[in-house]
Each structure stands twice: as C-alpha cells, then as structure tokens.
C-alpha cells in the first residue's frame, strides 16, 4: 500500500525566475528518477521528480506553468501539502564513467542521481541546458558536488549558444562514457538518441499522470504499453528503442493523442 503523507513544507528555495525548490523533513526512501504525487487538496494532484533525498529530507524543484504550480508557489514554510509515493522506476546507479544530460526544469532529478553515482565511485560529467539564464537550474549545486560541469543556453546568455545535446556531443568526442542519463524536454532526448547508438542510456519521460498506481492507463506509451508511472518514468535503451510515440505524440488529460 502506498501511504499518503500529509507533511509541512520545511524550506523553500528560489532557484530561478519561475523555479522554486520545496524541501520536506520526511523520510521518503526514494531512488533517483522516482517521483511523487503532490496535492494541497484544492484541486489537482501532480507528479514531481525527486530532486534530492536523504534519510530525513527530500526535495522537489518546481517550474511555475499553470494553475496548480502557481498555487504551490504561494505556499509558505509550515504550510501542509500531501504526498503519495515514491512511484516508478529509478536510474541504474553505475560506477563507471557517466554523462548526465539535463534540460530546463527537467534537470533536478539528475542532481539526486549525481550524488548517488559519486557515492558509488562513478566519474560524473554533467551538461545542463536551458532556454535562457533565467531557466537554468542547479549550476551551483552541481559545482559544489565536484562533478565535471558545463552549461549552455539557447539564447547564448552565458557566452555559449546551443543546447545540452551540443555539449553532450562535444563531451562524447573527448571521452568514452559507459552510461548516459538524460532528463528534460522529450525533444531534447529525441535529439540526443542518435548520438548514443553504441552507448547504454536511460531517459526520464514525463507523461500525463492521474492515478500513478498503474491502473488508469493514461500514462501508457505506444506501442508496448509501458506505464510510465510503474515501469517508467525512467526507461532503459532497450525499451526506448521500441517506442513509436517517442518524440511524436503524448496524451492529454482525456487520453487523446497530442502531437509534439
């Protein structure tokens, strides 16, 4: 049984213009890549990736985009929210030479992963991209971890213009990686995939989720019927390669197909 926990917000961190992290003093026992469903009981229960997790705290990082996240941004330290989870699959924690590719607000779960990878003795390189400087998150957090870190924006605000896929390509020219991990916009991962023909990789997918317990079917991905709330959100190469809907369409709250 997946227990629901109603817990207080312990800390709120401003990360970027429209991005905040929320920290909870709660033992979630999650693995990197997993997510929670969060609600304030005022309409909406939404999935958020776990950006960090220790034995007594966990954190999510949220981009304000609509009704629910706007309401979440008005919450104060000490306010209650309710959380189900953790749900879903997690990243394989390797001990080799690994590359993490993040995009926009998709990057935070890679921070939790990077910490676990380092603990496991892996050599970690992180490339992080976003539209503009204002959307780029966790630069300092990654630097503090002591991983090899580079970032880039599409608008070129940091001197470099391009995407994290460009940075990934350069990094892969310089060194041989054992495993690549990506989280971010689906089209970023779609662009990255052709570069990874000879490499093991895992991608974190986001699809519209309702039940998060594998019964409503809203988050299944064609044609293999993988439920992203159970068998995902992290999928390994051998599954990603079978997906015909990857980068083509997803499903909205009604279950209708929406082209990217």
């Amino acid at each position: 049984m997946n227990k629901r926990s109603t817990i207080k917000i312990a800390r709120i961190i401003d990360e970027a213009e429209d991005i905040k992290s929320f920290v909870f003093a709660h033992d979630l026992t999650a693995k990197p890549g997993q997510f929670i469903m969060l609600t304030d009981f005022e309409g909406g229960e939404k999935p958020f990736s776990i950006a960090d997790c220790t034995s007594n705290e966990f954190m999510i990082t949220v981009k304000r985009i609509g009704e629910f996240t706007t309401r979440l941004f008005q919450k104060q330290v000490g306010d209650y929210v309710s959380v189900r989870g953790p749900f879903g699959s997690s990243f394989f924690v390797s001990d080799g030479n690994v590359l993490l590719v993040g995009g926009g607000y998709g990057t935070p779960p890679l921070y939790f992963l990077a910490k676990e990878l380092l603990q496991n003795g892996a050599k970690v390189t992180v490339v992080n991209g976003a539209k503009s400087k204002e959307d780029l998150v966790f630069c300092n957090k990654f630097r503090e971890l002591g991983v090899e870190y580079q970032n880039i924006t599409q608008l070129g605000c940091l001197g470099r213009e391009g995407t994290s896929v460009d940075l990934a390509e350069k990094a892969m020219e310089k060194q041989k990686f054992d495993h690549v991990y990506a989280a971010g916009p689906e089209m970023m991962m779609k662009a990255l995939q052709p570069l990874l023909k000879d490499l093991e990789y895992e991608f974190l997918f986001e699809r519209y989720m309702k039940c998060a317990i594998g019964i409503c079917g809203n988050c299944t991905i064609d044609p293999i019927g993988i439920r992203l709330c159970v068998e995902g959100p992290v999928l390994p190469k051998k599954l990603v390669e079978q997906l015909t809907e990857f980068g083509k369409y997803h499903r909205d709250a009604t279950g209708k197909r929406i082209e990217f």
């Binding site: 049984m1 997946n2 629901r4 109603t6 469903m37 609600t39 009981f41 005022e42 309409g43 909406g44 229960e45 939404k46 209650y80 309710s82 189900r84 309702k210 039940c211 998060a212 317990i213 594998g214 019964i215 409503c216 079917g217 809203n218 299944t220 991905i221 064609d222 044609p223 293999i224 019927g225 993988i226 439920r227 159970v230 499903r251 909205d252 709250a253 009604t254 279950g255 209708k256 197909r257």
Partner: protein
C-alpha cells in the same frame, strides 16, 4: 495459452475467462494490448462518451486497507478517438473487445451505439452505473428499472453488436433491474461497478482526500458484495453474467464462477499484483482445477450452481 481455460462468452471463443474491465488500462491500444499479452481473454475499453472528458481534478485515487476509492470522473478521449484505439488493437489481435460507452439519455446512447457499429469492437457495454459523476448527472440510470429497460431496448434495436448492460451494486433490488435489462433484450449483464461511493478524510488538513469528495470503492473489500449480487442475479436471469468486483487471486475468480458468472473482470488487482495479474490468476485457476479434480474451467461453469 492454456487449453483448460478456454471458454465461450456469447458464442465467442475465449483463451481465458479473465476480462480487463472498463476504466482499467483501456485508454490506448497499447494499454489494451499489454493486458492481452499478460493473459486477459477479453479487453474492455474505457467508457467512451460523445465528447472527450478530462474527468475530475485530482486527487482521483484514495487508498485504504481494503481497496481503493476512485473518482476518475469518466475521463476519456471521446468516442471517435477511443474507437481508433480499439481498431488499432484489433488490427494486432483477435482477442475480443468490449466497447464501453457512457451517456445520460437514450439519444446519446443511440449515437454512441451507431459509432460502435462501425468499429471493430465485438461487444457493446452500456455503463449505466458510474457512481462518480453524481454532481454532473445525478443518480445513475441503473438505479431505475424503467430507465434501464428504456435504454437497453432502444440500443438493442440499433446495435449490430451484442449488448451488455453494466449494472450498479448500489441498489435495493438488483434482481428487478437485471430482469428489466433482460426483458429489454440485453445479451449479457456486467456486474458490479464500483460500490458506494465512499469518502476518505485527511485529518491533518481537515479536508476530503478526493477533490470530488466521494469516489467508488473497488478491490478486495467489495468481493462479498459482488458475490452476493452475482449469485442473486444469476438465480433470476437466463443471460450470462460478466462478474467483477475485488477479484485478486485465482480462488476469487473460481468463487465468482461458482456464484454464477461466466467471465471474470480483474481491475484493481492490476495495482496489487502488477499487469501480470492475469497470467498469475490464470495459473492459480489451473492449480485449483488440478487440486480439486476438475479438467477445465467449463467443468466449473457446468456445476450445478449454489442453491439457496
């Protein structure tokens, strides 16, 4: 698949008596297909409405010891998109599909039935019993024998496919309603839909857990109610019953066959035991056959049913 599990539903051969019920995984062709691959003998689509529906705001699921409450609110991509998924599924497989539809009046049900006539679906199921849209639509149609009679009769006259009426457990006299459906020409009955609805409260927040406040109960806690209603109905009607409600293990399915069902839905158990639940229950049924001297599932169906 196992020969010993083969059975028939309304003349159609089934590889297994297990059914994926409406609203569970049946949103997309691949969701239907994964249930088939894992051993379901019939697949039911999500209940489809004329227009797409986003359903209720979350939380839409509240879990408790005996089962779950849900108030999905009939989210579905609408009849035309939904039938595209059904047709795509049928291109890949011969497993029969029940197309479930939901409406609140005869005209809309007739429009839905017309669309389903032109699809590759095998059966038409009328969801007369969703308990989660009370605020919008009021008391489920399945609460009234006259409404059930009127709608089933009208649909039956225009449907190319056999018609299954899905009834509500939340009524005083199931037999009277089942008989009305049979008299109107229903080819089969499906029972039960979710029970209640019920409620869950978050004591720290002092709020209902479900945003819709109330939700239908499913899972192990409703099995005794399902058995009782299937048993009572079976004793009164001549048409087959697609039984469901809390079936989680092989023994639950066997009990439900003994109560009078001919096929068995497995919904919420997909959560408890994974999508592999169909294969697991199939195997457990075979174990039961072995241990109790039955050759096939048909032997259980042929048993003289329980007597009062």
């Amino acid at each position: 698949m196992h020969k010993r599990l083969k059975t028939k539903f309304l003349g159609v051969e089934l590889e297994s008596p297990l059914v994926l019920p409406a609203g569970v995984m049946g949103m997309s062709f691949s969701g239907m297909d994964i249930a088939r691959i894992n051993g379901a003998g019939i697949i039911t689509s999500k209940s489809l409405t004329l227009q797409p529906r986003t359903g209720h705001k979350g939380p839409v699921i509240a879990e408790f010891e005996g089962g779950i409450l849900n108030c999905m609110g009939l989210c579905n991509p609408g009849i035309s998109n939904g039938l595209l998924e059904v047709n795509e599924f049928k291109k890949r497989s011969r497993t029969p599909v029940i197309v479930s539809v939901f409406a609140t009046n005869t005209e809309d049900f007739l429009m839905l039935a017309k669309e389903v006539n032109n699809s590759r679906g095998d059966f038409l199921e009328l969801n007369l019993s969703c308990p989660n849209v009370f605020d919008e639509f009021g008391i489920p149609l399945a609460a009234s024998k006259d409404e059930v009679f009127k709608i089933v009769k009208a649909v039956k006259e225009s449907s190319r496919l056999p018609v299954i009426a899905k009834l509500s457990p939340n009524v005083y006299n199931i037999v009277e309603i089942a008989l009305a459906a049979q008299k109107a020409g229903a080819d089969a009955l499906c029972l039960i839909n979710t029970v209640g609805p019920g409620m869950a409260i978050d004591a720290k927040m002092v709020k209902p857990v479900l945003f819709n406040k109330f939700g239908g109960l499913s899972g192990p806690c409703i099995k005794p109610i399902a058995l009782k209603l299937i048993y009572q109905t079976h004793s009164a009607v001549d048409i087959p019953i697609l039984g469901m409600g809390g079936v989680t293990y092989g023994i639950d399915a066997v009990e439900m066959l003994m109560a009078g069902a001919t096929t068995i839905g497995v919904g919420t158990a997909v959560y408890y035991r994974g999508i592999e639940v169909f294969e697991k229950i199939n195997n457990e049924i075979i174990e039961f056959l072995d241990e109790n001297g039955y050759e096939t599932v048909e032997d259980i169906l042929k048993l003289e049913k329980l007597k009062l």
